[in-house]
Symmetry: D2
């Protein structure tokens, strides 16, 4: 057997980060990842001061430890690291990725820092690039890491921008229909999406307090969520063609998007199902449900699946899609590992079963 790939992770203390460490830990072709503390700056919280991940996540204890070392590019080189995962906030990724690329590392970034090609969609992030030319260059170079759509380009990528969790659920549901040209785009598409609380991050706020979330449900960021831009870009839609409404579910993890589409011609359920089955034929991590069966959040929890199902109205025109992902796996860490598998020519399911 060939030597195992050496990887490092910055941002392992967040929910996506720790999930990534778990998945990498069980990957047969990857050495135990090196965990790096983010360099201290005004945005670094005290959670970065832990020296072993198991102090913060006792669930990880008993496996020999998960020490965090301070980030040092020369040291990474010395240790033979080839691939760097960033599970950092977008502003941190915006600073760290150019440095990493310069060191010759390949990078999979889980933040929103490099997902967007169009300046209009980037505005919401308010990036403050120090070296605008490099930022521009990397923006062009970055591949949007949705394997089912961009598999070929991911294989050769230096920088993979791992998709947002909501975006994954919406794009995978709509791509087959849009590609088939059967969507009445002028009529407008609606994605009513619901996410568990880990999607809101680990920082304690009044919004993530147990008492605020339990026995509750709410919409937020209507017309203004950051993931809207990447959905539009990947599906080549304009902003008039999609409404995206996120909601907060009283569960720790999981996303379900209910998506409303009008078809531009009358179809039968079997035709719509074929459209999905053909598009995703041979794709390991998308499950198409036989209509009218619908996926539920529980079905894909703790897996890397995106589950898709639909109901078609009797008029053969109005289509209700349901798309589920685990926001920390197919919506983050699992998809990052799937991208790594493609980048190194491995089977897409390695380490994800």
């Amino acid at each position: 057997m060939t030597a195992k790939l050496k990887t490092a992770v910055i941002g392992a203390t967040g929910y996506s980060g720790v999930e990534l460490v778990r998945v990498l830990g069980g990957h047969p072709r990857v050495a135990t990842p090196v965990l790096l503390s983010r360099p201290e700056d005004s945005t670094t919280t005290k959670t970065e001061s832990v020296t072993d991940l198991a102090e913060m996540f006792p669930a990880l204890s008993g496996n020999g430890g998960y020490p965090l070392q301070p980030l040092s590019w020369p040291s990474l080189k010395q240790q033979g690291i080839e691939l760097l995962f960033l599970a950092t906030p977008h502003y941190a990724s915006r600073t760290l990725v150019p440095q990493a690329i310069k060191q010759g590392l390949r990078v999979i970034d889980l933040s929103g820092a490099w997902r967007l090609k169009q300046a209009q969609h980037r505005a919401i992030y308010n990036f403050k690039d120090q070296d605008c030319a490099t930022a521009e260059e990397l923006t062009n170079k970055a591949i949007y890491g949705l394997p089912e759509l961009n598999g070929g380009r991911i294989a050769d990528a230096t920088l993979v921008a791992n998709p947002g969790c909501y975006a994954t659920s919406v794009i995978l549901a709509l791509a087959p229909l849009l590609k088939a040209g059967i969507v009445d785009r002028e009529h407008g598409i609606i994605s009513d999406s619901k996410s568990g609380v880990s999607g809101a991050g680990k920082e304690p706020t009044s919004r993530t307090h147990f008492v605020s979330v339990a026995d509750n449900f709410s919409a937020y960021a209507v017309f203004g969520h950051r993931h809207l831009g990447e959905i539009l870009e990947q599906l080549s839609l304009n902003s008039a063609e999609l409404i995206f409404t996120p909601h907060l579910l009283p569960i720790p993890r999981g996303i379900l998007s209910t998506i409303y589409v009008n078809l531009n011609r009358e179809m039968k359920p079997a035709e719509v199902e074929s459209c999905f089955r053909e598009f995703y034929g041979g794709k390991r991590w998308v499950r198409v449900f036989a209509t009218p069966n619908l996926p539920q959040i529980q079905f894909s929890l703790h897996t890397n699946y995106c589950d898709l199902g639909f109901c078609l109205a009797e008029d053969g025109r109005r289509l209700v899609l349901v798309s589920c992902v685990d926001n920390l796996l197919k919506g983050a860490a699992g998809q990052a590992v799937q991208n790594m598998n493609l980048m190194y020519g491995w089977n897409e399911e390695e380490g994800l079963q």
Copy 2:
């Protein structure tokens, strides 16, 4: 002070029923309600065999008891009962209501038995009326008990068909806009609605098992939920003009509907807000949120409020409404009491604060 109104409840052992008993128990103008067991038939479950409601709901103990007596029309007469509440399944209501009306009682029925005027919408219930002429007559006589819309007719009603919980949340959100004639009805309206588990009733099923619901979220009855008919009827919409998608939330109670509407002309948020505020001016149990504030399920829990809020897209056309009710209060027992208040000329808020 005048004598208190004497009421009776059939079906107090269900979630809506016991909530009704609680509300009536605190109503200043109503005597302690007489609780009646449903006559035994093939559909009666063993839960009907309790002799005191507190056996089944120990939360009610310590207040002198809630004895159940077997239903007997002569006995009701003797006890001076004037108003009968039914919190029974629709098929039971379909049998019991004609009997009650014949006895000269006024009736508020919480089931779906008498809500629908149009046969096409009734089909889903598959009623098996023994006396079709009476059923027809009562169907015509029944008033749909949504006080904010039908207040005047409720005052004089003999039979009030208390609205469905989902229907209440959807109709109250859409009525002002439709009445103002600003909805592009041809474009179609979508209500993506989410309910807590008490809406599914008290019978234990694999669907209501804790392990099936917790950490989960799912859509169900897409294009085929029973409440669709009453929404269409009350709003004078045809079935092509509305998609209604119910979902099951992992919470005990509460409904939130996210409703998507296209306006037929460009409007400003303030105009839309005015439309709601004018329509609901002076209405005690509807709260209109100042845009872009949105209601959440927690806000109306354990109250009789319907909370309404909205966001309008920058194009001034695409409108996202959010409507919340407690399915057991404004969506059932609270609304029933509000209807009673109207029927007896009392203030709409009596007993509901």
Copy 3:
């Protein structure tokens, strides 16, 4: 009818505070309470900057507003306030109460500031009194506000120290047995207590983050919880005679204590039940369950009840008690109002039904 009592609340923005505002708002003998902002100091959080409670708790909107005014003793006098509730942290109460008493106000303090007579138990709070003589005097003057035990002394109290939530559940379960002299105290008593998250307060921390609490359960502060002292003092136990272990439940509110006691003589279940029934005969807010029925947290939620039940081993010696309260009502705001009722000679159930 006589004029309504004028009250004020400091600390209305916390969970106990807002519950208190709700209860006072429905009390027939009390005017709408004046809500006061805490004077700013280093410990005051930004939540104190709200000008109306409904901004923070939209559930309260639609009832005419809950404006907060800055604390000013002269202004309270002018407004005719007689009774002040403090739902502030203990260190704030330690400063504010002496000032309030000096102004001639009666005070019900919901914090731990004035509950403890014995210095050894106070140590854990680490009070930093500026005027030690006054603090000493008030400590002696304060009445521990558990109406079922100290009703008579509460009636005349100037300063009522409202009990802790855990303490309420434990003391009410044990008091009848200890008074009857049937507990083998040397053997030791154990209270294994479990509380919902609102007991941990409103401040967002990693411990109260939804993802930390949901699908979880944990013990904390074993041998070192602040409520231990007041339990020992009220029951005249020494620290070797009681183990108190708090746990965090994944629910918003409610406490259940499972308490293990050895009796010093063999008894029959009926004798033990009598012991409870006699002790609590005529007490409105304690419900004794007929053995072997046990209370559950749901039964007392949103009520002011303390529910008590027990199972006795066949040996007639080993007793397992179960005691439930809603930590925000009988464990805080409800008990405060019950104390107020005693202080003003009203029926103990006024405003609490």
Copy 4:
């Protein structure tokens, strides 16, 4: 590599059963297990009529199917099955195990049917054996499958009685202390144990209805739970020496036991910790927490760990232990696979990481 072990599972449609199928599916030394329907009898529910497990658990779909075949002993022989898992109710296991053993199969039974040697403890199960002699013989032959205690005897076992979930958490916490002879047994031990709802099984009942469990917490079966017997037997305690109180937590899975022990001599925390560390030295699936750190339910969820921690009172005598397991893994399916590993001489962690 040698041929993979061929196994079969009866009762795969229950919570423990499906978890077992999941674990076996990822085990490197085991072929895909054959799933068998229970022979129909009066106690068989309709859930047995599924022909593929994925119909019932859509989470399993997309992996080539999990067909159920009717139980036929000759067919099992033909297929080369060596090891049979039973995740059936105890009365079904009581009938099926003798048949299986007669066929020469080795058996791991997850029910309570064969765990108890002493007739007094078996009484609660009310077994109705058709062939008492065989039942007696098998009872004697059965090995209680707790690997950390009975590892050696499990290796050679024909029939392994897999421990109860509660029992696993209690026995593993107490065994080291009892073996060291440092427990004051006369004083009595208390285990206040709390379990998630999957422990109550998959059958929908009023007790497992979401609305009954959510926002609730309750004690049940005080002094009378079935697992008490096996705890007593394994720890050689008599019934006067242990109180075991189960409680129902509003979470899907996980058990935490808080256990109260008096030591018979004054000890230091480090000594107690050593006692645990020595006992469990080299044991892969027990994690001992450094005092005063305590395990929480989340830490061992979805793992095969039993997590142990403790706090010792200042008097050096009163000890509070906390023990956590995932009731479906270390408390059921995971432990069954750990037992299989021992029975076939494999590493104890195979297939469980």
